[in-house]
């Protein structure tokens, strides 16, 4: 059989598979044979995801140090990035814990510019308000990552320039 026919058949099969997958995700039916999941699983999974992300960033920091890469500016920046992502994960975990897990904090929209942070403790309300500003952690994390990559590009260019010198 010619190859082009094989490719066509493969493409059709792949498309069908993708359609089935989409249907399963967006058009769920009762599947009595499988275990039922409570809605609280979502936040727990999300929190575990944050923990996993946090753990991977910790691992990255130690790996970079273990390989003595922190002497290079690029990798050192990536370490800073990982550190800020750790902070961001802690921030997010804490925020989700308060509003989605123990429901200790709740926000009510009063007007376009004002909100009410409902909490039994004003300190917790203030803490939650600060925790909601998490972009102040993840944006620097991304900036450090960009800085790290930029420095690695520069180092690589210098290395290649040295190699080119006869």
């Amino acid at each position: 059989m010619p190859k082009k026919y094989l490719y066509s058949i493969q493409l059709i099969l792949k498309s069908l598979g993708a359609l089935v997958a989409v249907a399963l995700v967006f058009l769920p039916l009762d599947a009595y044979a499988t275990q039922l999941h409570a809605s609280s699983e979502g936040i727990i999974t999300h929190q575990m995801g944050h923990l996993f992300f946090l753990f991977s960033m910790v691992a990255l920091i130690f790996t970079i140090t273990g390989k003595r890469l922190d002497k290079q500016k690029g990798w050192r920046f990536i370490q800073y990035s990982a550190f800020f992502f750790i902070l961001w994960n802690l921030d997010a975990i804490a925020a989700h814990f308060f509003d989605n897990q123990i429901y200790a904090v709740k926000i009510e929209k009063l007007s376009l510019g004002q909100i009410r942070v409902v909490s039994q403790s004003e300190l917790l309300a203030w803490l939650y308000y600060v925790l909601k500003l998490d972009h102040l952690l993840c944006v620097p994390a991304m900036l450090f990552f960009y800085g790290g990559l930029s420095n690695l590009v520069d180092e690589q260019r210098q290395m290649m320039a040295k190699k080119d010198i006869p």
Binding site: G49, F53, L110, Q114, V117, Y129, L149, Q156
Partner: protein, 498 residues
């Protein structure tokens, strides 16, 4: 607690936009890194993680901006409906980033291995290039050596004064140098075209069979003497050395021969042996002549005294006197041969001597029918320092011998010339019967003659030889190609001092 929503809103929206922009820039930088070294596994890892951050930033920012937009536009219910999907995508995206991040160590190790492999490969490559260059240099050097060696061998082969012959296993000539062409008298094309072998150069087949036998037994021959027969029927004495070559690189078996022309050397040896023999004979003759000369003088004296008185034996005494005188002539000739006689020397013009001899012989009855010719007279007189009478005697002897060889109606040519190396050459040629090969070695011996008994004493040529040697010259004989013999006298030229 009532508080302003603006800080949260601004940080959320601007932070989301910033996240997307920075993630895009990160992806751009990672792609640059990747393009710089596509084989670097760490750079590939950074590209993956940048892609992960891009997905994370997009999903998160999209969710946050949409959330703020829907809340601000009082569509909280809509946000509530899609918040689960947004959160899930966000969860998956940062878990993906986390997952990729965990592969950093593996990526680094893989990259280390790749780099190590690359370094080893580069080292090997450098070594290989070095080896290749060394090999190339060696090949060039060996080729130059080979070319030089081949050139030397070729020059030795071509320029050698000895004959070098290469034959195939059947002794057919496959290569021969110029000296070989000169020696054998055959052209190279003729030898190769007619597939001539060494056997074809031999004068006698038995000689070739002997050489073949030695080659088969020992696979070499060393200094074997034999005669080559040239196309002009002349014999050349040669010395052959040769051996077998089993060849290399698939070449067949061949024989290599070096052939030395020893004709001149052998002739020279014969002449030296002849001279030594004649010198010994001269010594012997001188001794004998001296011992006989005195008794003969006494016998002759007493005989002549007895003849002065009448005794009745006059006839007998005259016979004794006659034979004693003959004996004294022989003794005198012997003394001339042995160089024991006195010699008065002066400057002599050879041409004048020869003219005198021819005039003297012209009156003799035996020479009247013989055509005696002389070559063109030289412009300058051919002077030698010696004894004219003795020189005349030598020439008379040669002409008498020639006359006997040509018979009654023959032709005798006498040529004289001066060579560039100050030698006077006198050649006496006849068109007679020539000299037998076996007589060449004895022709100058005293008492050797081919004439019938009583017609010659056999002392003429030996006396002539003695005289010429005493003059510092030489006398040789050869058979002419046409017919007859030729005697050549060589004397040192001595211009008269003025």
């Amino acid at each position: 607690m009532i508080i302003s929503f603006i800080p949260i809103l601004v940080v959320d929206v601007l932070g989301s936009v910033a996240m997307v922009v920075i993630a895009l820039l990160c992806l751009y930088k990672a792609r640059i890194l990747r393009s710089m070294d596509p084989d670097n596994a760490v750079f590939l890892y950074l590209l993956w993680i940048s892609t992960g951050f891009m997905i994370f930033a997009l999903s998160r920012s999209f969710g946050h901006i949409l959330k703020q937009f829907l809340i601000l536009t009082l569509n909280g219910a809509t946000w509530h409906a899609i918040t689960s999907y947004s959160g899930s995508v966000n969860t998956v995206s940062f878990m993906l980033v986390g997952l990729i991040t965990l592969f950093f160590n593996q990526s680094w190790n893989i990259n280390e291995k790749i780099l190590s492999g690359r370094i080893k490969l580069e080292d090997t490559h450098i070594k290989l290039i070095d080896l290749n260059q060394t090999l190339e240099h060696k090949v060039v050097a060996r080729t130059e050596m080979l070319t030089s060696s081949e050139h030397k061998a070729r020059r030795i082969f071509e320029q050698s004064l000895d004959t070098i012959v290469v034959t195939d296993a059947g002794f057919k000539v496959s290569e021969i140098n110029q000296a070989g062409v000169t020696l054998t008298g055959y052209q190279r094309k003729e030898m190769l075209g007619k597939k001539m072998g060494l056997k074809d150069f031999m004068s006698q087949e038995t000689e070739w069979e002997k050489i073949c036998g030695l080659l088969e037994t020992h696979e070499y021959i060393l200094n074997e003497e034999t005669d080559f027969l040239r196309p002009d029927r002349n014999l050349v004495r040669v010395l052959i050395t040769g051996g077998v070559d089993y060849g290399a690189f698939g070449c067949g078996k061949t024989f290599h021969f070096i052939i030395k022309n020893i004709n001149d050397k052998r002739q020279m040896e014969q002449q030296i042996a002849q001279a030594d023999k004649l010198a010994a004979l001269g010594e012997l003759s001188a001794g004998v002549a001296h011992e006989i000369n005195n008794p003969l003088g006494i016998i002759l004296g007493y005989t002549q005294l007895m003849l002065k008185e009448t005794s009745g034996f006059e006839e007998d005494l005259k016979i004794i006197e006659k034979h004693v005188k003959n004996c004294k002539t022989v003794v005198s000739d012997l003394l001339s041969f042995s160089r024991k006689g006195s010699l008065e020397k002066s400057w002599v013009d050879v041409t004048t001597v020869i003219d005198g001899v021819i005039k003297f012989l012209a009156n003799h009855t035996d020479f009247r029918n013989v055509d005696i010719q002389t070559g063109p007279a030289p412009q300058d007189p051919l002077m030698i320092y010696g004894n004219g009478q003795e020189l005349a005697q030598v020439i008379i002897n040669l002409i008498i011998n020639a006359c006997h060889a040509v018979g009654k109606k023959g032709k005798i040519e006498i040529e004289t010339k001066q060579t560039q190396n100050n030698l006077v050459i006198i050649t006496v040629k006849d068109n007679g019967t020539g000299i037998r090969k076996k007589h060449f070695s004895r022709i100058f011996d005293p008492f050797f003659t081919t004439k019938p008994v009583g017609q010659g004493t056999g002392l003429g040529l030996s006396v002539g030889y003695g005289i010429i040697r005493r003059h510092g010259g030489d006398i040789t004989v050869r058979n002419r190609k046409e017919k007859g013999a030729a005697f050549t006298i060589t004397l040192p030229f001595a211009p008269q001092k003025k």
